[in-house]
Every structure is written in structure tokens, then in C-alpha cells.
């Protein structure tokens, strides 16, 4: 799908997806990930129960769904951090459902964590450098000889510097990552994943807790990833962002995929609105009748007595 470059990067890149039906488990023309019958149970709870899933290559796919729908668990399964009760999936046509997590990442499928995992006692810069793959200095037999990896290290540092500027973390470069604020950790988590230079990047609520202004500027970066030919799969509860950058949306609820389609189509789906978006979601809460609230409060207080 590399040949297909959109001229206007801000427009959703429907291209190949234009013919794909808006239905759960829809077949895509050029899927990078294909999964079948993936299920994971915790005690009596079926957290993930996905019949068929395909992620199109080279586009931005959003995975949305209510809390506890199984999105993170699906991420865990796909990337080898958790073992499924059943199911198989492929990445680039190769089965990876029994492959350990680090090998999945090496093949180019990298994920971030919803509850951030920064390496507290390493500096922000070291966190970034760690992300880079194929470092010669990471092999023990080369490690003692600085001249072998010096050059590569310099390149990595340059790349990290660029990313840090973009994520507004450059001022914190030499600080311990453990001293970052909640939002900064999210940012570092994402920036570090980008250092891996992955083919498919899976972001688990990357923008939760990120300042809106910064969020906006980062969306441009995510889009440019797509334009470089990378695939992005992200979980997000911010519908503005989903609407703005995703080309395709998959909706999960209670472990299953319940809807799929273009952002506009999915968000118009009444079931999605009911279960996920809520009636108010496009209204200004300050417009809600204050009197109504007050009334409600009154009745509740009365009920309580």
C-alpha cells in the first residue's frame, strides 16, 4: 500500500478502505494484523472474545469502547504480554500468537501502556535511547568497546532530541523520568515507543491527561507517521481526537467487536451513542439547565431522607 500517498495529509485516508463494509470483523484489502477467535477469560469474566479482527496497513485505526470493554486486554494479547485462552493472529502474514512479547516488538509491533511504565531512575534521555532498536552496544561482547557503538549512540541521541522537542520534554531531558508529572509520563511513554521505529504502533490512551494544546500539535505528528507508511492503532476516549485523525474505527464492548467503520459512520450509530458516547457528548454542559440539576439534587436529597 506504499504507493498510495494522500496529497492532503489532514484528510482521512480512506483510499483502500472505501469499499470495506461498515460491519464488525470486516475484511480489509491489505491487513497488517489478522486475528481469529481470540478469547481471554478472567474467572467468570470474558474480557476478550473477538471473532475476527483485521487492522488495515498504513492507516490510523481507533479502538474505542466503554471502560472494561477489553481494549487493553486485547492489546496485551496481541503483543504477547498476556496469553489467550484460545485464538491465533498474524502480523504481516506470520503467526505471532505464541511469540514472546519482546520478539513481537522486534518484528515491528510496539505498544504503549495505559498505566505508564517509565523507568524512574533513568533520565528522560536514557529512557528515549533505550527505545532504539538494533543497538550494537546492547550486546555484551561489544558493550565494553566504546568505539564500536559511539557513532550509533550519537545518531540515536539526535533522533531522541528531535522527538523530545516535539513532545515538549526537552527541558526535562536530564531529569529522572520518575520525577515527571502524570501527563509528561504519557508523553514520554509515546515518544519512547516511537524511538523503536515500529511498523505498527499501538497506543493505549496516549492522550489521556495530555494538555489539549499539546495534544493538538501531537496529532500532526501521528498523522505524519501514517504518511511515512506506518500503521497506527490507538485506544482513546477523546472523540475529538478520534474524529480528527482516525481513518477507521473499531468499537468493542464486553469483549466483542460490536461495530466498525469510518469515524463519521460509527459515531452516528445509535448503539454506539447509547453505550459509549452518551447523550450529552456533543452538548455544552454549562448549557444544561441548571434548574434541572438543582431539581434533581433536591429530589435525591429528599429520597435520601
Amino acid at each position: 500500500m506504499d504507493g498510495e500517498q494522500m496529497t492532503d495529509a489532514t484528510l482521512p485516508k480512506l483510499g483502500a478502505l472505501v469499499d470495506v463494509p461498515n460491519e464488525p470483523g470486516a475484511k480489509k484489502p491489505d491487513p497488517i494484523v489478522v486475528g481469529d477467535d481470540i478469547s481471554r477469560q478472567f474467572g467468570g469474566l470474558r474480557a476478550v472474545d473477538v471473532g475476527h479482527i483485521e487492522i488495515q496497513r498504513g492507516v490510523i485505526t481507533a479502538l474505542i469502547g466503554p471502560n472494561g470493554a477489553g481494549k487493553t486486554t486485547l492489546f496485551n494479547l496481541l503483543t504477547g504480554f498476556d496469553q489467550p485462552d484460545s485464538g491465533s493472529w498474524t502480523f504481516n502474514g506470520q503467526p505471532i500468537h505464541k511469540v514472546p512479547a519482546f520478539k513481537v516488538a522486534r518484528r515491528g509491533m510496539v505498544r504503549t501502556f495505559q498505566l505508564t511504565k517509565v523507568l524512574s531512575k533513568l533520565s528522560v534521555m536514557e529512557n528515549m535511547r533505550l527505545g532504539a532498536t538494533g543497538q550494537m552496544g546492547e550486546r555484551w561482547w561489544m558493550a565494553p568497546f566504546r568505539f564500536l557503538w559511539e557513532g550509533q549512540e550519537r545518531e540515536i541521541t539526535e533522533r531522541a532530541d528531535e522527538l523530545l522537542v516535539r513532545f515538549k520534554l526537552d527541558a526535562k531531558k536530564e531529569d529522572f523520568a520518575g520525577s515527571l508529572s502524570g501527563g509528561q509520563r504519557k508523553l514520554l511513554e509515546m515518544a519512547r515507543a516511537l524511538m523503536v521505529d515500529p511498523e505498527l504502533i499501538m497506543l493505549d490512551e496516549p492522550m489521556a491527561g495530555v494538555n489539549p494544546a499539546l495534544k493538538q500539535s501531537l496529532l500532526g505528528h501521528v498523522k505524519s507517521l501514517r504518511d511515512e507508511g506506518r500503521t497506527v492503532l490507538f485506544v482513546e476516549h477523546d472523540m475529538d481526537m478520534v474524529r480528527d485523525i482516525s481513518d477507521w474505527v473499531i468499537v468493542m464492548a464486553q469483549g466483542r467487536i460490536v461495530a466498525e467503520g469510518t469515524p463519521a459512520a460509527v459515531m452516528a450509530d445509535q448503539r454506539v451513542i447509547d453505550a459509549y458516547l452518551g447523550a450529552h457528548h456533543d452538548t455544552d454542559l454549562s448549557d444544561l439547565d441548571e434548574a434541572a440539576i438543582a431539581e434533581q439534587v433536591m429530589t435525591e436529597i429528599q429520597e435520601g431522607e
Binding site: K168, S179, S181, Q184, E205, A208, A213, D240, D244, L285
Partner: protein
């Protein structure tokens, strides 16, 4: 300089009689590195105050400083006119302040029920009554009451954290990004409920990155940057201020 001084003076006059106020707070985690550089904030009785600002501005630090979890080097925190600077958190709780931290806000090895129980630790008798209220709000929590919080999804945890705060009966509630990680419908629910609680007489100070929503419901907002309050005003004013939009709110979704 005189400009900021006069603003501060005006702020201080307005703060008279506030239920919770922080004056010129200087605080930090490590010796020699101050995160808050003279932050001011007040919250009148029954008011809902929102704080927004860039990442790393010191919003969480300000809440923690007011709640006695970060040491205040200079300045003062007063509750109902009484100086409570650097008081132990549990003492503040018994004086009626409730706090929901931004991260690590559940007890992972306790079940949901036990987590909520901890919410009314100082007043266990109210448990059943409040528990019903919270599970009404977040039905998932009721269904999974025996599940350990450590195995919950991100959003479910957030519900537990919020629920724990709702178990208390505080007169002042400090919320650090209560909506983060929640689905849109739940986010709205949290905002509406916060407003409701507030209407019922609880003063609320809330930090949010869902800035637009936050400014929509709050009576007054602060924009915190680099450890001090950069702008204050009513929610609507701030949401409309082009400077604030450019620097802190962005345009995404503004027109949608």
C-alpha cells in the same frame, strides 16, 4: 511587576472568607527545586473551581501541597480561616477535605468494596448508604464488588478512585483529573455528578485536562503555568479568551 502585584492584591481581597485558600505557596519535591513558585488559589464555600494548564505546570503539586502530601516551603494554606499548612493528610480528612489523586489512586490488593470502605474509614457507619449511592452511579463497581482493584481496567480504576472520594462526606473535595481514562459517557457523568455534589454544598477544586468540559461546569477557573496562576476568571471567560485558547486549550473539537 506592579501589574502582577495589583492582580494579586485583587485576588487576595476576593479570597476573603474562602473555605480553602493557598497563598503564595512555594513547594517542591527535592531540596532546592521549587515546582510551585508562589501559587495562589482560593475556593469559596459552595464554589466549583477548575484548574487547567500545561503538563508539568504544577497542578497536581498544588493539590498535593494543599493536602499536606508535598511539603510547603513558604506561603500558607488555610481551611476555614485556620492555618493548615503542612498538616498531616489524615488530619485534614477529619477536618473535611477529600482528595482523589491523579495516579496510584486505588489500593490494588483490596477489592472494590474494600476500596470504597476505605473511603469512609473515619466513619464506617455510613458505608452501606454511600455504597449504594456509588454503585448506582457506577453500576460496574457494584457488579464487581469482589474483584481486586489491581486487576481493573484503567477506566474502572478511575471509577473506584472517584467512588472512594464520594464515600466520604467532605466539605471540600480536591479532584485531580477525575475524568481521565473514562469513556465519554462516563466522563460526562463525572462532570455532572461533580456539579451535583457541588450544588449540594460541597466546595470542589478540580484539575482537568479535559479543559473545555471543565471550564463549562466550573464557577471559576485558574490556568496554572510554571508553578503560578497565569490567568483566572470565570469558566466561560477563560474558555473564550484567545490567549488561553492558543496556549492551553487548542482548537481541536472547539467548533465540532
Amino acid at each position: 511587576m506592579s501589574d502582577t502585584d495589583s492582580i494579586r492584591a485583587a485576588h487576595q481581597t476576593a479570597a476573603e472568607g474562602a473555605v480553602l485558600r493557598a497563598d503564595n505557596v512555594i513547594a517542591g519535591y527535592l531540596p532546592g527545586v521549587n515546582i510551585l513558585n508562589g501559587a495562589d488559589l482560593y475556593c469559596l464555600r459552595g464554589e466549583l473551581v477548575g484548574i487547567i494548564g500545561p503538563n508539568g505546570a504544577g497542578k497536581s503539586t498544588l493539590l498535593k501541597a494543599m493536602f499536606g502530601l508535598v511539603k510547603v516551603h513558604e506561603g500558607s494554606v488555610t481551611l476555614d480561616g485556620v492555618d493548615v499548612t503542612n498538616q498531616r493528610a489524615d488530619q485534614l480528612v477529619s477536618q473535611g477535605i477529600g482528595f482523589v489523586p491523579q495516579s496510584n489512586n486505588v489500593f490494588p490488593s483490596l477489592t472494590i468494596e474494600e476500596n470504597l470502605e476505605m473511603g469512609c474509614y473515619q466513619d464506617p457507619k455510613r458505608f452501606t448508604e454511600r455504597f449504594d449511592f456509588v454503585t448506582d452511579l457506577f453500576p460496574t463497581l457494584g457488579e464487581r464488588r469482589k474483584q481486586r482493584a489491581g486487576s481493573l481496567s484503567g477506566g474502572e480504576r478511575q471509577m473506584v478512585a472517584m467512588g472512594r472520594a464520594l464515600m466520604m462526606n467532605p466539605s471540600v473535595l480536591l479532584l485531580d483529573e477525575p475524568s481521565a481514562g473514562l469513556s465519554p459517557v462516563m466522563q460526562d457523568e463525572v462532570f455532572v455528578q461533580t456539579r451535583k455534589i457541588n450544588k449540594a454544598g460541597v466546595s470542589v477544586v478540580m484539575v482537568e485536562q479535559n479543559a473545555r468540559r471543565c471550564l463549562q461546569i466550573c464557577d471559576r477557573g485558574y490556568v496554572l503555568d510554571q508553578g503560578r496562576s497565569a490567568y483566572t476568571g470565570s469558566g466561560r471567560d477563560l474558555a473564550g479568551d484567545p490567549k488561553v485558547i492558543e496556549l492551553y486549550l487548542g482548537t481541536l473539537g472547539a467548533t465540532g
